[in-house]
Structures are given as structure tokens and as C-alpha cells.
């Protein structure tokens, strides 16, 4: 077998996949300007993507913030910089860990559930039934979920950032001997508006990616239980990789000098 072909074939397949995803994205977003709209579906998606994700996002952020405080304290002690725990926890959570961890948790929880639900609808002809009932699946299924991701995930990132800082605060004050007022003052004084805005912007992009991947792989699933399983797996893989890649690009865009 030609070794160039062995390299070229998967590269072409990935590029073709990205092209199909890009077309799907533009087609979905174009429905923003073309009624009818389905507010009930949007509200339900908002509940599923946002409110129902709060426990997992909150716990993830809480433990990560606490662990971050312990790590920074231990690492900082090597060059007598233990005092920077509040500042580094704040900047670490808000700029990086908050959005990325929330994005990955949404990929695990929401992308998988959207992909499995839509793929099952596909396999059981519910998508065809929607069309025969004069309802566009892109408007009824995809757009409400994608909009919910775009709106709810930045809010979740904001909540995650706050809970992550709270985790660091609890560990810092209860375990590492920081004064409560000083910890909070250092956090508040160090964080800048740009840090918070970049965090929320990342959340919006990650929410878009997570919900789009769930919808795309659900809509294009193969037949049977295997098709549903493959769609779910592929959607989470694609969402996680694209979120991490987008995080790198956005960090470079926001913070490289």
C-alpha cells in the first residue's frame, strides 16, 4: 500500500468531516433569521443544558479550585511564593480551568445526551415523522439546543468560576492559614474585567461546539443500536477535541502579546 495514500486518506476524511460540520453549522445558524421558532423547545433545552448541569459543574469547579489552591501553595513554597494562592487560583479558574472544565463536562453530559436522543429519533423514524408533519428538524431540534448552549454555557462558566474560587478560598482559609478578608480582597483586586469577559466568551464558543456536535452526529447517525452508540461516542470525542483546540486559539487570541 502506498504510504502517502495511508496518510492522505485519513487527512482527507477529517477535512471532509470538518467541511460537513461547517456546512451544518451555517445551515443551523441561518434558521436564526427564518421563522417559525419553537420557544418551548428552547426553554426545555435551556433547562437541560443549563439548570440540570449545575450540580456536576459546581462539584467539578469546587474540587478543582480546592486542589489548585493546594498545588499552588505547595509549588509556591519552593520559592517562598505561597502568598500568591488567591491570585493564581482566581486567574487559573477564570481564564483556563473554569471554561475548559465546564466545556468538557458539558461535552460529557449534554453532547452525549443530545447525540443519543437525536440519533434514536433518527433510527426510529421520528425525524422523518417530523418532516411529514411539516416541521423542519433543524428548527425544531437543532436550533433550540444550539441556542441553549450558546446562552447557558457562559452562565455555567460564570457559576463555575465563582465556585472554583470558592473552593480555593475554603481550602486556603481552612487549611493553609489565609485570612478570609485578605484572600477575598486579593482575588477581587487581581481579577480584571478582560479575564471575566474572556471566560464567558470561551463558554459561549464551547457551548456552541458542544451542542452542535451532539446535533450533527445525532442527525447523521447510522442505523440501529450500533449507529446510536457510534454517534454518541463520536460526538463526545469531536466536542472534547474541538473545545480544547478552540481554547488554545482563544487563549492565543485574548492573551498573547
Amino acid at each position: 500500500m502506498n504510504p502517502l495514500a495511508a496518510i492522505g486518506r485519513p487527512v482527507l476524511a477529517v477535512l471532509a468531516g470538518l467541511g460537513r460540520i461547517a456546512i451544518f453549522t451555517f445551515a443551523t445558524l441561518s434558521h436564526l433569521f427564518r421563522p417559525p421558532y419553537y420557544p418551548r423547545e428552547f426553554a426545555l433545552a435551556l433547562l437541560n443544558v443549563g439548570y440540570n448541569s449545575l450540580p456536576v459543574v459546581g462539584l467539578t469547579a469546587l474540587f478543582t479550585g480546592g486542589a489548585l489552591a493546594l498545588q499552588i501553595y505547595a509549588g509556591g513554597a519552593r520559592f517562598s511564593a505561597e502568598a500568591v494562592v488567591p491570585q493564581i487560583v482566581a486567574i487559573g479558574m477564570v481564564r483556563e480551568l473554569g471554561p475548559v472544565l465546564v466545556g468538557l463536562m458539558i461535552a460529557a453530559r449534554v453532547t452525549s445526551s443530545i447525540a443519543a436522543e437525536i440519533a434514536t429519533m433518527n433510527v426510529t423514524e421520528q425525524i422523518d415523522a417530523l418532516v411529514t408533519l411539516s416541521t423542519d428538524p433543524a428548527k425544531y431540534l437543532t436550533l433550540p439546543r444550539v441556542l441553549a448552549g450558546l446562552v447557558a454555557v457562559p452562565a455555567l462558566v460564570g457559576v463555575g468560576d465563582v465556585i472554583g474560587i470558592l473552593g480555593g478560598f475554603l481550602v486556603g482559609t481552612a487549611e493553609l492559614g489565609f485570612n478570609r478578608a485578605t484572600y477575598l480582597r486579593n482575588t477581587a483586586e487581581f481579577l480584571q474585567t478582560a479575564d471575566i469577559l474572556s471566560s464567558l466568551a470561551k463558554g459561549a464558543v464551547f457551548g456552541l461546539i458542544a451542542t452542535l456536535m451532539g446535533c450533527y452526529f445525532g442527525m447523521t447517525s447510522g442505523r440501529g443500536a450500533q449507529g446510536v452508540g457510534r454517534a454518541t461516542k463520536s460526538s463526545v470525542e469531536a466536542a472534547a477535541v474541538l473545545i480544547l483546540a478552540a481554547n488554545f486559539l482563544l487563549t492565543a487570541l485574548f492573551f498573547s502579546t
Partner: protein
Amino acid sequence: MIEIAGLAKSFGPKHVLRGVDLRVERGQSMVVIGGSGTGKSVLLKCVLGLVRPDAGRIAVAGRAVGEGDRDAFLARFGMLFQGGALFDSLPVWQNVAFRLLRGRLKRPPDQARAIALDKLRRVGLGPDVADLYPAELSGGMQKRVGLARAIAAEPEIIFFDEPTTGLDPIMAGVINDLIREIVTEMGATAITITHDMTSVRAIADRVAMLHEGKMRWTGPVSDLDNSGNPYLDQFVHGRAEGPIAAIR
């Protein structure tokens, strides 16, 4: 009412439809029979525009599929899917009234619910079923709900995809009788696809047999047993020997 000419559709190397011709008059109940995997469902999906054919022409009431307002086109159809295809996330009455709760046929929820209850009653289901979810229903009840949804907006044309598959013989008989009654009383044009010969005799005015992508026989249901067509004879009598290979 429905005219199909030279319809062809392939999926990769598999040629499912190879030039299908079919004509269904207004108010007629046409049943398309054929073995599993012969393209019966694909035929219906091509008419509805769910599958794009490679070649051929489909016209409904003289207008080619794909021309004009798609919503208006689809509003003329009702379809009962093989597995029911009920929406799991909605209660039964909202499934039945789906078309009446949104889009151009939208009505107030009270009115839509009343119509849904009426259609459920028509298919033999009481109001106690209305607020259940599809997963709480038996297979036969799901078919009835699917049937109620198909007729909810009083369509001119109704498609039935394998309406008795997976049902016990008694429930299959009930569904067959319901389909015949509803098609007759609504004056609708119907295409049913099935390989259940009991359904064929109960539902059909005319029968068409699809095999290897082509219509092998078309005629009135009364000629079913004396057609002289070797494909139809083998299928009707369920013989392993004949022009249709038993292993496909």
C-alpha cells in the same frame, strides 16, 4: 392523484428502485407488496420528498414533487410509520395533535386537544390514554396512536408503512379494519406497503407488487388469486420455489 414514472434510486452499489411506474387514483386504496428490502419504504419516502430519487417523475394531483410550497404539499399527507415513530418526549395527545399545535394548521391548545381526543376515540382509545407517554403504551396502542396522528389533520392522502408488523393476529385484524374504515369514510387516497397478505385483502382496492426494483404486477385485489403472474403467485402463496429467490 399520484403518478410515479420511471422512478430510480440507488444507495451506493445497491439499486433499490430501477424504474418504478405506479398510478393511484383519487380515493383509491393501493397496497404495494413485496419482500423485505425490495424498496417499498423508499418508494413512499421518495413521494414525500424524504429521499431524493436519482431519476423519474412523481406528481401529486398533477404537480411534481418538489415544486411549489413544501409545507402546503406535506399538509396533504398523513403517514403511519412502521414503528409508530411517536415522539417519546410528548404525551399521546400532543403526538396526535402535533400538526395542530404548530405551523400553518395551528389552533388553540384546547381545540387541538379536543380534536386529538376525538381521533383517539376513532381508533378505539379512551381519554385515559391521552396523557400517557408513548413508552407506556403497548405496540398495538402505539400503532393506533400513530394512526390517530396520521388522520388528525384530515389529510387527502395517507401512507401506511407496514401497519401490522409486530402485532398479534387479532390486533393486526383490528388495525386492518380501522384502516379500511377510515380510508373509506374520509374518502382519502391511500398507499399501504406490507408483506402481510391478510392486510392486503382487508385494505386494498388495487395491489401492486414490487420486486427487484420494478413493479411486476398491478391489478385489482379481486385478481390476486388468478393473476397468472409467477412472481405474484409465489408471493401470495408463500412458496419457496419460483422466480423470487428465497435467499436474497
